[in-house]
């Protein structure tokens, strides 16, 4: 090293492992260079974890790919400086850069399901980096790969070496990705949203694993995420990105306790915090902070909207939905997915009941079974005193006016070739409820109600952001003036600040229209904020149900406790509390064809708070 070492910033005394200065990445569009990341500078010291946090489109992933120089060369341009232990990476010849990738800097990605090659064994995929960068022989690489699999706590590593990616669950695949990244003992690991696609208990496992591996290997981590809770748990320092710029860079504790930039404050105020609702009776709006001025409103508790004395809007009793798994020549039933098993609950007018649980627990199937989008095997669903399951097609159509559904993905649930006005009017026309002129007024009214403007009716879905589209979906659901809305992960795909706004909108609509929500979600913190009652689902069954304050304040069932413990807390002060790594996978609700579910016993802990008894 002949050139003088640049002075270290912050508390790092030696040369930082990674130092980005004035990093700017532009993409070519119609012959013009549009900067997507502008003038980003930060350092990552040895053994340090730095988080880059921001919402979608903030340029955080592009920053990560720029450091790896994985931006396509024809359409992308990277300027500025990226130094790895003092060595400039941006001017390296491609061949030399290849020696850096996977060797000195490794990267893991968001989607473990698609990031592994489906036709190669995981053994091949781990050992090839060892063969290329460290020149190991095949047998030595195999032995090392097995050691790595063991290191990331994959059970029975030896026997799994020759397995293909589809033999692994999402969480296990992310472990394989991590093993692959660690293969050459990199100085820096870039983790691009490594836990976003995972269930909350699995997310907690992966975060713990990364922390422990960092200690063992002594590497630095650049952690890209949108989740402030995860930031608080992992990062020493944090870079907050907004519209392609780093608006604030500081120690994580300071970012949380004394954010200086208005955007950071806006982001933090929109973050739902588990436990923040203790002592409150009613759901509460999120405070909305102006991203420019930093000024905030002070939310108050919502008024009591629940009509407890009337007959419930929705009564579900012993609902059971199973999916047969067929195989063989004559489609013999080889097993059944017990998606919904003996589920009972009721929902009053103006009330929100949250169904929470992890993927595969049957919460979405429950929602769809109630609307009879899927035909349940048995049980009863009574809406406004009428039995849904016994209805013919025509009656069902009429009844569906009173219950509507909003889905998770606002991009997939609007027809791209239909104007927004036409989409909202579709349910009106389908039910012959409005003439053309009347419909126009109605559409305008609905758009205003969900916080958009009336003249947007002529535009098409691609002209709107994700949050706006979800508002449109809500407007469409409201068109028929339903009493009940089933919100199936309706805010899960939205950015934090947008999520807060849509939750606020839903609360306002509930107040003004006396709506009932069946709020299906995996996000415990949002559920705590907006629901009156909570039902926890596990393997198709409700294991605990009760008033929100009771379930969150005094969880009884071990699964409820586990679920709550896994939620990352956006409070850096609690970072040191270790949870210990468990290897538990989410269990499967697939059973043999002759399986008889056991008769369950329940216990009432406090009024309305009911828990299924479990085997100790």
């Amino acid at each position: 090293m002949t050139s003088p070492v640049p002075p270290a910033c912050f508390d790092a005394v030696a040369t930082p492992v990674l130092s980005a200065t004035g990093l700017t990445t532009s993409f070519s569009r119609d012959g013009q260079w549009l900067p997507v990341v502008r003038n980003i500078s930060f350092d990552v010291a040895a053994r340090e974890t730095v988080a880059i946090v921001g919402e979608s489109g903030s340029g955080k992933s592009v920053t990560a790919l720029s450091i790896m120089r994985l931006i396509p060369q024809q359409s992308g341009r990277i300027e500025g400086s990226v130094r790895l232990a003092g060595r400039e990476l941006l001017t390296l010849p491609e061949q030399a850069m290849r020696e850096v990738r996977g060797n000195e800097i490794a990267m893991i990605f968001q989607e473990p399901m698609t990031s592994l090659n489906p036709v190669l064994t995981i053994g091949t995929q781990i050992s090839e980096a060892l063969v290329y960068h460290r020149g190991l022989s095949r047998t030595a690489a195999e032995a090392e790969s097995i050691r790595l699999l063991d290191h990331v706590r994959i059970p029975a590593a030896v026997s799994r070496f020759a397995d293909y990616p589809h033999h692994f669950s999402g969480g296990m695949r992310q472990r394989v990705m991590i093993a692959m990244a660690l293969a050459c003992k990199p100085k820096l690991l870039i983790a691009d949203e490594p836990t976003t696609a995972l269930d909350v208990t699995i997310q907690a496992q992966i975060v713990e694993l990364l922390k422990e591996l960092q200690q063992d290997e002594g590497m630095s981590i650049l952690f890209i995420t949108h989740d402030m809770g995860v930031v608080a748990e992992v990062a020493d320092r944090t870079v907050v990105m907004y519209h392609g710029e780093a608006v604030e860079t500081d120690r994580t504790t300071r970012i949380f306790t004394a954010p200086s930039h208005a955007y950071t404050r806006a982001l933090l105020s929109a973050v739902p915090r588990l436990g923040s609702m203790a002592g409150r009776a009613q759901p509460m709006r999120f405070p909305i902070v102006d991203k420019v001025t930093g000024g905030s409103d002070t939310p108050v508790e919502m008024p009591d909207t629940v009509a407890r004395t009337e007959r419930p809007v929705l009564e579900v009793k012993h609902l059971t939905t199973r999916f047969p798994i067929r195989s063989g020549l004559f489609g013999r039933i080889a097993g059944r997915v017990h998606a919904v098993e003996n589920v009972s609950f009721s929902l009053h007018a103006g009330e929100t009941l949250a169904l929470v649980g992890e993927s595969g627990c049957g919460k979405s199937t429950t929602g769809r079974s109630i609307l009879k989008l899927i035909t349940p095997d048995s049980g009863s669903v009574v809406v406004d005193g009428e039995d849904v399951l016994g209805m013919g097609a025509r009656e069902l159509r009429a009844l569906r006016r009173r219950m509507q559904i909003v889905f998770q993905d606002p991009f997939a649930s609007l027809n791209p070739r239909m104007s927004v006005g036409a989409a909202i009017a579709a349910p009106l026309h389908a039910n012959r409820l409005a003439a053309a002129s009347e419909a126009r007024d109605k559409i305008a009214d609905l758009l205003v109600r969900v916080g958009l403007s009336a003249d947007m009716a002529r535009r098409y879905p691609h002209e709107f952001s994700g949050g706006q589209r979800q508002r449109i979906c809500i407007a469409r659901a409201l068109a028929l003036q339903p009493k009940l809305i089933i919100a199936d992960e309706a805010v899960s795909a939205l950015d934090v600040s947008v999520k807060a706004q849509v939750v606020n909108l839903m609360l306002e609509l509930q107040d003004s229209m006396k709506l009932s929500y069946l709020f299906i979600s995996h996000d415990m913190a949002v559920v705590e904020r907006m629901s009156h009652r909570v039902a926890v689902m596990y393997l198709g069954e409700i294991v605990e149900i009760g008033p929100r304050a009771a379930v969150f304040g005094d969880p009884q069932h071990p699964y409820t406790k586990k679920l709550m413990a896994a939620v990352p807390i956006p409070d850096p002060a609690r970072r040191t509390t270790r949870r210990g790594i468990s290897n538990d996978e989410i269990r499967s609700p697939v059973r043999a064809p002759d399986y008889q579910p056991p008769a369950r016993q329940y216990r009432e802990v406090s009024p309305g708070h009911i828990v299924q008894l479990w085997d100790a």
Partner: protein
């Protein structure tokens, strides 16, 4: 797996029955018959014609004729040619080799050349090579096979005199070299459309794969580009090509029919056309059934091969 194959074979049998019924009906609906060429001859009296018709069983109602044919077929009796009395299976057998020779050669050319052009076109998308390949494929797909065959004969046989204008061998020669010399032109003509199709399919399959997350993962591992393309990308891109190969088979068969006619190639295609001309019902039906079986077996093999190659399907 065995159950799956059994299931598919059962479907295949039903399909064969349907194909044979439609083929049989169309064939007999066409005007004329096996005897129409004798009818013009003055040496044949009406009585003679009636007698032959009775002998061949052509006087019976069509459904009866069909069921009779089907019954024999199931027992392995494919009938005899009206022209020379030779057993249908042996007629097919003596023409099969020539057709297979042509088809296999054309397929090898198409897979190698088309595959290569497709991969390079996808990797260097919108490059000059890719654009030329795209235009070339469009031209190749628009040229009628018979026309390209005739042009080939005109240029290479008549004008340049490099290649023979037809047939499978020079009578009296028949050496390996002579066979190859005769094979070049028809194989090239038959391969033209196949190559263009393979090139296009390969390109789009490869394009889809190189944008997948796992290719980005491979790049992030710092692997050499060659290994990324040859191992990570190509393996995945070839999977759908297996299905396409199975689907391409009927097109290939149709192309062979035209090519064989143009190059007087002594294969099944020409035999088929000749037999239709003579209304040689047993041979036409025989070739129809044989081709249908080949198509069905081809697509079954493609599906089985897919399951063998793709680890996600292998486990069921």
């Amino acid at each position: 797996m065995l159950r799956y194959v059994a299931n598919r074979l059962l479907q295949a049998v039903m399909l064969l029955v349907i194909v044979s019924a439609i083929g049989f009906a169309i064939l007999h609906l066409a005007p004329g018959g096996p005897l129409s060429q004798f009818a013009a001859s003055s040496q044949m009296t009406q009585e003679d014609l009636d007698r032959v018709t009775r002998q061949l069983g052509l006087d019976r109602p069509l459904p009866i004729q069909y069921l009779d044919w089907l019954g024999r077929m199931v027992r392995g009796d494919w009938g005899h040619s009206y022209r020379d009395g030779e057993a249908v299976l042996s007629v097919i057998g003596s023409h099969l080799g020539a057709t297979l020779e042509l088809m296999v050669t054309a397929t090898i050319i198409a897979v190698l050349l088309g595959g290569w052009v497709g991969v390079i076109g996808a990797v260097r998308r919108y490059s000059l090579f890719d654009q030329l390949a795209t235009v070339g494929a469009m031209i190749a797909l628009s040229i009628p096979t018979f026309w390209f065959g005739l042009v080939t004969i005109y240029v290479f046989s008549i004008q340049l005199g490099w290649l023979p204008a037809g047939n499978r061998e020079t009578i009296g020669d028949g050496s390996m070299l002579d066979l190859l010399h005769h094979l070049i032109a028809p194989a090239m003509v038959l391969a033209l459309v196949e190559t263009a199709m393979w090139g296009r399919y390969m390109r789009s399959s490869m394009l889809e794969v190189i944008n997948q997350d796992y290719i980005r993962t491979a790049r992030a591992k710092g692997l050499p580009e060659r290994r990324i393309l040859a191992l990570h990308a190509l393996r995945n891109a070839l999977l759908p090509m297996i299905t396409i190969a199975g689907l391409q088979f009927p097109t290939l068969l149709g192309g062979a029919l035209v090519t064989e006619t143009v190059f007087t190639w002594p294969g099944m295609g020409r035999l088929f056309l000749d037999s239709i001309g003579y209304r040689d019902y047993p041979v036409v039906m025989g070739i129809l059934m044989f081709s249908a079986m080949m198509v069905l077996v081809g697509s079954l093999l493609a599906d089985i091969l897919y399951a063998v190659v793709d680890p996600r399907i292998r486990m069921e």
